[in-house]
Symmetry: D2
Subunit: 383 residues, 4 copies
Amino acid sequence: MMKLRMAMIGGGEGSFIGPVHRMAARLDGMIELVSGAFSSDTEVSIKTGTALGLDKARIYGDWREMLHKESILPEEIRPHFVTVVTPNYLHYAPVRMALESGFSVVCDKPLCLDTAEAEDLLDIINNTGQLFCLTHNYTGYPMVKKARELVSSGELGEIRMVIVEYLQGWLSDAVEAAGNRQAVWRVDPERAGIAGAMADIGTHAFNLAEYVTGLEISEICSDLSNTLPSRVLDDDGSVMLRFSNGTRGTLVASQIALGEENNLTIRVYGSRGSLTWRQMDPNSLVVMWPDRSTQHFRTATTFDEMGTLSGFHSRLPAGHPEGFIEAFANLYRNFALHLSAKLEGKDHDNRFDYPGIIEGIRGMKFLEAVVSSSDKNSEWVAI
Amino acid sequence: MMKLRMAMIGGGEGSFIGPVHRMAARLDGMIELVSGAFSSDTEVSIKTGTALGLDKARIYGDWREMLHKESILPEEIRPHFVTVVTPNYLHYAPVRMALESGFSVVCDKPLCLDTAEAEDLLDIINNTGQLFCLTHNYTGYPMVKKARELVSSGELGEIRMVIVEYLQGWLSDAVEAAGNRQAVWRVDPERAGIAGAMADIGTHAFNLAEYVTGLEISEICSDLSNTLPSRVLDDDGSVMLRFSNGTRGTLVASQIALGEENNLTIRVYGSRGSLTWRQMDPNSLVVMWPDRSTQHFRTATTFDEMGTLSGFHSRLPAGHPEGFIEAFANLYRNFALHLSAKLEGKDHDNRFDYPGIIEGIRGMKFLEAVVSSSDKNSEWVAI
Amino acid sequence: MMKLRMAMIGGGEGSFIGPVHRMAARLDGMIELVSGAFSSDTEVSIKTGTALGLDKARIYGDWREMLHKESILPEEIRPHFVTVVTPNYLHYAPVRMALESGFSVVCDKPLCLDTAEAEDLLDIINNTGQLFCLTHNYTGYPMVKKARELVSSGELGEIRMVIVEYLQGWLSDAVEAAGNRQAVWRVDPERAGIAGAMADIGTHAFNLAEYVTGLEISEICSDLSNTLPSRVLDDDGSVMLRFSNGTRGTLVASQIALGEENNLTIRVYGSRGSLTWRQMDPNSLVVMWPDRSTQHFRTATTFDEMGTLSGFHSRLPAGHPEGFIEAFANLYRNFALHLSAKLEGKDHDNRFDYPGIIEGIRGMKFLEAVVSSSDKNSEWVAI
Amino acid sequence: MMKLRMAMIGGGEGSFIGPVHRMAARLDGMIELVSGAFSSDTEVSIKTGTALGLDKARIYGDWREMLHKESILPEEIRPHFVTVVTPNYLHYAPVRMALESGFSVVCDKPLCLDTAEAEDLLDIINNTGQLFCLTHNYTGYPMVKKARELVSSGELGEIRMVIVEYLQGWLSDAVEAAGNRQAVWRVDPERAGIAGAMADIGTHAFNLAEYVTGLEISEICSDLSNTLPSRVLDDDGSVMLRFSNGTRGTLVASQIALGEENNLTIRVYGSRGSLTWRQMDPNSLVVMWPDRSTQHFRTATTFDEMGTLSGFHSRLPAGHPEGFIEAFANLYRNFALHLSAKLEGKDHDNRFDYPGIIEGIRGMKFLEAVVSSSDKNSEWVAI
């Protein structure tokens, strides 16, 4: 495959997710960062880009300028795609312009601020024919692929109940007041949107539940809370779920669960088998059966019972732990495979999947429903 | 202390909980089973009692007869208390008559069929002055005592969020149709009452949440489900919780969570610390802090940080796993300590606690609220 | 079956193992303690026996007196067996006299002080026809039974390598100097014998390895250490193992492994499967296969793949943790089943096994070999 | 810092460790692969190098040719260092020539075939002043750094006992006979050297024990085994350890431990604290204390109790699992930091450490001792 060139919007010094995207893009040697508007503060942008070894001419303080200038570069140096890693409120405009400037796009989640924006992006994607990846990165873990496969193959039977949770503790205190850069924008409705924890991590949980089960959540009933009174947006919330096929479940997302690091866990109970996957132990998938002992599937074992799908998404034999960066890199790798295949006029093997605009729209609808239900004292609201 | 004599109602051959009560009563050598009406089938009762080494004269086929005859025995052989281990529908009447016949009582949970019955029993207990223990046995685990202590001492700060769940998988299939004796009565509204899984195990989860936090759940919003259409009662349900002090939470109880054995887990998140306790690993209590590494408290370590409360409730030094029977026996032991102190005119150290009628009434109110909320398509209902 | 009467030697106030034996004997309702010489200090013995509710006439300060007097009691009140729970140096004489007085015997481990004593006891057992149980209690765990079964059935193939370890930390400090009663005699060669940690816990590890594998350890090469210079006996030691069939392995026993509670772990690697069992998580048995995912067997699941042997040795369905006391009680239960069958002239189902004199002799030989090898700067010594 | 250019010897198609080195070198964006002799089969080398996007002119079929030609390239494109990822027998010559050609070197472990070769390399390194990194990659894990720090700071007190093990199961069957490329050379004395499992993974365990404890192992007593009779070299072995300060321990290395993935575990017991680290759960470090509950340290928490050393070696906040590749990359990163500082005439912060020639010599001495001891039927042999 061809090596792809990437431009980045956001991710300047002090960013958390920017470096993650860069490491993920770098890991498999398929992608080269060639330009960036890392910050609206030109000095910060230059400092970041220089440290990354970029040509100064291709470091920008304004993403509009970057998209414009980079789009008219000669084909052999022009970026193939743009990665957007800014706060939520600054997703829609850059993604839109990047697409319209002839770039494929990778964008951090959640997609944007509302369903209207999201559907607008869908139209533009459809019209431009560009590829689009939304980094719901947890679906990149090999054992999440395996989980999805166990459900879709019918091995777990009919799915009856789902428990998904994403618990963090880092907003237990008002760290935003102390200037924690990651916190400041996440608790600010102007920059984060209509939801706090639900937008930041609840959408991951929602996405994971739909990805693993292959089902749509059709109705939700929620109770959101701003545990710290100083906050406007939710920092904790519970949601009861009804899926279109009658499956029930719960989703909990909290950033005030003191002591939790990054506890994203999904449990899926079926009529013939059940599974548990925990991001904190990502290379294991626990599968329970009615008639034999619980099995612990592991990333990259060579047994025939291991699905090929998970095998495709690991790099090393079993016992060599692959973590967050590798899972994130799986999205970049699959996106790169797809994009290079497209550019070379080849077919893409769609088992190498990645989340896109549809998942982005689902996320927006989920957020609107979850806020609406909570506002109505926990009425059931359709998604 | 004096050795106490016990009579038993229920627990005949094929019973699950009867033998548990007997082992629990036996473990610490404080209690002797002296008589029983183990089954309404006299032959079964005699067979059970004989196998237990009882005097034939004190084995009965009718519990009313037993209560009557045993109550007029001479003081030196008369039972000190009666244990009721029948299905739910058959709690109220025997408990009532036992109390009125001058016996203290141990009763399996849930207390009875509704709040009216429960409050009636409260009156009788108050009037007779007899002691009453309701076997919400999970509160007998040393690490549950420790958990309660960590909250009540303020070490965890203000409690903000609670997640409690009790998951089993044994009703994933319609085992009642195949004659599973434990299942048959539990899925039958005549014998189980207004709720299925919520009565059988949800009340344990509810009780555990209130016991550990020392808080009252004031409002609930629930979604119950009879996953197997052949069932009338719930076999799975989700509940959102609001506590009187503003704490929020969720409770899930399911008996169709295929593969789960007896997964009762509580997580309590506070402003200064958080805890997790799992019945499947009962001798550990995981406590998370904002400013130092997670600690794994263990039953019966000798460290000064171990609360005396948990120390009192273990029998062996750390590393000698104590399980379900030992925890159950802690209720019997504390009840026996209380009863013998009362009979000997001594004071009881109330750190040796056990659940009683108040917990029984709370359970009834919880069940009524949870069913009512679900019937109203998940309106919030006060408890 | 008939209820059996038990007399006890040792186990007075302050004893650790005495109460364990009593709880274990009590749990299943098959055995009644009727008499005891709990301490050579008559007052202590009376205090202990009285607290246990014994008839004062049957509480003794001298075990010889007890054995004599109890042996001539009428058949209907005479004890059926005697339990010896004194320190090591005080096993041989009481066991011998008990057997010769017509009692079957349960004795704590290690059997005695040397092979000569052990073989003498074998002769007496053979001559008297009494039953004898040595409480290598860890073999009573259901999952240890299952482990043995997996090996003996050939499911793991040829056994190639064994790692067994028993790690404790309670002798990390010189607690004997502070008067810790359990420590004082264990570090004293007069009372403990030729070995310290190896006698106290190494023999358990050795016994477990031979029990699970069904193989004999034929040669050992050891390096013992008295980590605390104030000690004469080993408090820590490593042993390399060769089994009679060529299997290799290691055994580590330490009481200075600070922080370890009671970490007895065995791992057995075969040509077709491997297993791990940990006393700290006793209801799980992890089994690894070459061609499918690791399985976690659990006590008392109902799956057909669970061996009946483990099922026989649990009391409750899966998910109700059974611990140290229950495993210990399994030895008492099996011994009681055997003894009552013998007394009633019935056959005993030998799947209900318990360790006896042969295991006691093996333990003595192991200790002699392990000390000898270490003394010879780790030469291989045959057992 | 400056971006460094790397040449590679070995790592052609089908290599396991070659791609690991490349991902590790790539992850942090400090190093660029510019040339390679990936295979002695020129076609394979070209295919590999082309897929990696290298300039064809800088892909070689002969490593001598590469070292020669690359060494005379202009400064601005000449590699700064050479990475050697060939089988053991092909380490010495390329490392030597690379050093003598003016390159710093990264080399896979074990260093070479014997102590003589190793000491020769030491001389050359000293004479040339080039930097040298030996990829005992497990020391790159943040929690291994933390472990070392806990020991060196004295928090664990005096170290008394060490248990280290490295267990794999992939050579349980004679996969070499079936052509498994990784197995074929590892079981061949011509290519692997005097030891099999001990060289391949035992040296990692040995290195980890010395790294974490900061102590030297001075004497060993071993029992090696070729479990599969078709093998000449050990595939399993036990070693008893004596450290120079009197600490004792055991080391087990096996590649026939069926079912084990990559179970490298170290336990260090001190007089004031103990620790356990497991490669299979690499982001946790369990620390046990005499007077408070066990703590689970975690990679990259922000608590002040976390050593800065581990913090320096992680990339993401706690809860974002970092695995094998990240740990491996820490060696490359530290080596790159050191090399670029040297090239820029700056000081290197030696907390950013990596294993080098000294560790390589220790490994050779260990292998010679362990083979010698086993050959002498387990005599103690000094290292």
